[in-house]
């Protein structure tokens, strides 16, 4: 069986550690390949054998259900042998252990290693020690590249393009790797990015990454094509960053009223898991016309298949 599209294009990086540094062409290539896998995933027989014989390990130092499952499905559908390893944070406090883990896995001749870690830069630290391809499934507050790619794919499929769109990213930007990856990707693709949050949830000089900074939903959502909501963790709403859940929802929770200033066709996204009634109203989240939250989940598998496919092309080529 032949790969759906762009079957022979090559990707110039061995790892996918972040969006920062990728060109528009490289991003488009991933999205184009992913488009093909979206169609394949709708067929009864979703499997191909292009990664047959290759070993993929999902190494998650942080709990995750949806991202890990999505990567697992992606590997299985491409025919790879997939193994999940979870390591709870406490047992991996020592850096030697982190690097030792990498060396141990490396000795097992893996082909792809998918890593999530709660420390920014930890995935890069691992990538420097192994011979296989490493995919960052989220490192601290740094990057979560496949999330940004699947968001971009969802937008492109719904609105037909990325260039020129106004995208408002709302909520806890400070602690969000999703926000950082999205800012880099949307800038590379020529979209206009806004971040909307109280100043306590914005990192220093975030505007330097290429975005407008807004502190009210009214100005931030005005004429927006896309509204991306971010999850706000409960422990951050008890006076540390915002005074209370009630106050946060009043000013930053997405509901129809706040959405009125956005463009009529504006779509709503959320990387999940959602806190209904905190950052997003249930009615809005479940509005099939506007919410793309389930599309995001569906497209996540296709994007991860595309990334696994592209990153292993050189390796598969060499093997033949």
């Amino acid at each position: 069986m032949t790969a759906p599209t762009h079957a022979t294009a090559t990707f110039p990086h061995r790892h996918l550690l972040g969006i920062e540094g990728l060109t528009a062409e490289q991003i488009s290539l991933i999205l184009d390949v992913a488009d093909g896998y979206v169609e394949q995933n709708k067929k009864p027989n979703k499997k191909t054998a292009i990664l047959s014989g290759l070993t993929q390990v999902n190494l998650f130092f942080e709990n995750s259900t949806r991202t890990r499952t999505s990567f697992e499905l992606a590997g299985i559908r491409l025919g790879a042998d997939v193994i999940n390893m979870s390591a709870d944070g406490s047992s991996v406090k020592k850096g030697e252990t982190l690097i030792d883990t990498a060396m141990t896995l490396n000795a097992m001749h893996l082909d792809a290693l998918v890593v999530r870690h709660n420390a920014s830069g930890a995935v890069k630290l691992l990538a420097d020690k192994v011979n296989c391809s490493v995919i960052n499934a989220g490192d601290g507050n740094h990057e979560h590249p496949t999330q940004a790619l699947l968001d971009a794919l969802a937008i492109r499929r719904r609105l037909g393009r990325l260039e020129g769109l106004v995208v408002a990213i709302c909520g806890d930007i400070l602690h969000s790797r999703v926000a950082r990856s999205n800012i880099h990707l949307l800038n590379a693709m020529g979209a206009h990015v806004r971040v909307v949050a109280p100043p306590t949830l914005l990192p220093s000089q975030i505007d330097r990454l290429g975005c407008e900074v807004h502190h009210t939903m009214k100005s931030g959502l005005k004429d927006a094509d896309v509204v991306m909501m971010l999850r706000l963790q409960n422990e951050r709403m008890s006076g540390q960053y915002v005074p209370s859940t009630r106050e946060y929802f009043y000013f930053y929770g997405l509901d129809y009223e706040k959405l009125e200033v956005a463009k009529p066709h504006a779509v709503i996204m959320h990387p999940g898991p959602m806190n209904r009634g905190v950052e997003i109203d249930s009615e809005v989240a479940d509005d099939l016309k506007r919410s793309m939250i389930l599309d995001q989940v569906e497209l996540g598998v296709a994007v991860r298949m595309a990334v696994l496919d592209l990153l292993t092309r050189g390796r598969r080529g060499n093997a033949e």
Binding site: G95, S120, G121, E143
Partner: protein, 438 residues
Amino acid sequence: MTTTSVNAEARVAYINARLLDPATGLDVHGALLTEGETVADFGPALFRDGLPPDAQVVDLQGQCLAPGLLDMRVLIGEPGEEQKDTIKSVSRAAAAGGITSIVCLPNTDPVLDEVAGLEFVARRAREVKLVKIFAYAAATRGTEGNEITEMGLLSRAGAVAFTDGTRAIASAKTMRRALSYARTFDKLIIQHPEEPSLASGGMMNAGEICTRLGLTGIPREAEIIMIERDLRLLELAGGRLHFAHVTTSESVDLIRRAKARGLKVTCDTAPHYFALTEADVGDYRTYAKVSPPLRGEMDRRAVVVGLADGTIDAIASDHIPQDQDQKRLPFAQAEAGVIGLETLFPLVLELVHKGHMPLVKALALVTSRPADILGLPLGRLAKGGPADLLVFDPDVPWRVDVGQFQSKSKNSPFEDRPVQGRPLRTVVDGRTVWQREA
């Protein structure tokens, strides 16, 4: 047990030298004679009428001869963390770096907050007997910032000043008391100027690079407001205050103005704050994780200006050894600190080679001026003074090779940096304790 008194009256004549005395600005061709542990005489006209017959003669062939360096900020891992550095390894590293005296921080395990701790360090230093080792005592018990230590008894046991070292004295009340009480013994209080509640959890300088890397930032203001506060407390309490490793342009401005007002305040910085910036963190290089964090380019330049105009009184290596286990970690989890004993001198010389100041002035930052701050009779060429000397080549180009360093820990951010100038011979109390192999 026999003592090595045989060399007590040994005379060594260093001839054909470029004599440099930063305390007086002397920079002439001449000679110097040591007698036992002291400098007997020096000057351009010395030995004009012939060499003394009983002296060992060392022909320096025009190389520089200056007082040995005084490094006023060194953390030794002993006691408590001997895997990082010991008094012996630090002494060797210092000697190889042209440093004849070091002052060590109290942040050992246990903390140097009692007489017994100071005595332990002094005894180990005597046993190792390479460079002179002085110690600060903690300003507060356990460096916990609450109760002041027995400053009088600790001074008698040799504490040269009081500081909580790598920790800030956070409470304004404690700082006021420490400054007041230290006046009794005319001792200096040294502050690590960083407001802990603003810096807590921070990993690098707040700003664009930090935001891109997804790390938690430490704002420059954490340093600035602590300096502002402490200058007020100094006016209130009197005494003498020294700020360690200042890194921001506002810090330099504040101290410049305070000095103009006549406050008894001094400060130092470390080479990484004038030779590196936050950009050197690059892709999570943990060797560039230091406390306070590396700042931006404008701050780096302001530090250079502060050094050139005399606002910053001294340069200390801020040697903080960390072994691989503490550095081969994700950035957030890695310990802060860099080694610096063997790069201090070439990095100070960078200021000269880049045209920021003349050689004698740069030398003063690591000799007579820190000695004056601490009230130690060191860091100058003086008849009858200690024969603590450094022979060096100010120009020879080389690349930093951490593998050759004597320090047990190798956490230097300067690996492979091209530098100019290096020590050739280090003399402590008239004895050559280190000499570069030809």
